[in-house]
Amino acid sequence: MNKQIQVSIAGALLIILFAVAVVIYNEEKADELTDNASQNASLLVRDYSPTFGNEDAKVTIVEFFDPACETCKAFHPLVKHLMSSNPGKIKLVLRYAPFHQGSDYVVKLLEAARMQNKFMETLEATYASQATWAPHHKPQPERLWMLLGGVGLDLKKAKEDMESSTVEQRIQQDLADAQQLQVTRTPGFFVNGKPLVQFGSQQLQQLVDDEIRSSY
């Protein structure tokens, strides 16, 4: 056999082998994640978790997010769009996964804003100014205070409320649940308890559409 052909065949075989290994691995991983999520279904939502949308919606999106995460910021409008295009059918539960250093500070601020019923406004202002207070994955959360002007928060009160031990406990609980549910990157989505295995906006849309179709 000609040398070029030998090398081409060997190269092609190795690449095919690689591709097959990827497919097999991903399928097994998907099964494992799905099993793990159904075994730990009780950890998906905590009674203190911020919830949005219709209480009685039959489709629940659980999103583990980090306020300093660019992808979470990018997915936020998509999740809102999914909710507005399926009015009343989707409930959103937000869980904290402050993996970036310093993000927990911002989560505390969000919890303090929640006490003033300004959670969503603050979250959106936080995302909008993310590039300023969390440049290149190095959050400087203290800078965020200057950027929250438009939200109308009582900043003094928020600063006090942030320090409460309940808030800290919630963060620790959410992080523990994230670990148990094998959420290692943000955003981590579960739709009616099913994990978003292949990450992507199309895939999330698909998962939500499937659940809406089977629930309504």
Binding site: K3, Q4, A10, L14, F18, A21, Y25, T184
Partner: protein, 149 residues
């Protein structure tokens, strides 16, 4: 037909060509394998893993170029890379097995070089695979050099 066969024979079995081919296959398997560990399985490569990758990945290109047309001088470029990679692999293995104390680790918080992430069949670790690949490549290159002398 016979003419063609006779003509092709010396070209088809150049001395040592298959040794290079085998070394190239090993380098490619090592490259794809390491990419599988990091990109598909999500194991973060530690600093030492990166140094070993730095010396392994170019071998895929250099050995391939040395095969077409067969270049006896390819060893001058390939062997130093393989030797340096081998040294890093040995160092990594010693660290992994605990022969070198933790304090000497050139590792960051994100991925520890001493943490054992994967054990196939209970004893095969990634640094061990790296040593095996580098050792086999070096052996093949030395055989190639002997066969072309």
């Amino acid at each position: 037909m016979n003419d063609v066969a006779v003509k092709q024979t010396p070209e088809n079995t150049p001395s040592g060509w298959h040794l290079l081919f085998l070394a190239w296959i090993l380098a490619t398997v090592a490259t794809l394998g390491s990419l599988f560990f990091s990109e598909i399985m999500g194991l973060k490569p530690c600093v030492l893993c990166w140094y070993q990758r730095i010396f392994m990945y170019p071998l895929v290109v250099i050995l391939l170029l040395g095969m077409f047309p067969l270049d006896k001088g390819v060893i001058r470029y390939a062997l130093p890379l393989a030797a340096l990679g081998w040294l890093f692999a040995i160092y990594h293995y010693l660290l992994y097995s605990g022969y070198i104390p933790e304090g000497l680790q050139p590792c960051d918080k994100e991925a520890s070089c001493a943490e054992i992430n994967l054990e196939l069949f209970g004893f095969i670790t990634i640094p061990m695979l790296s040593i095996l690949a580098y050792t086999a490549i070096i052996a093949l290159l030395i055989l190639f050099r002997k066969s072309t002398k």
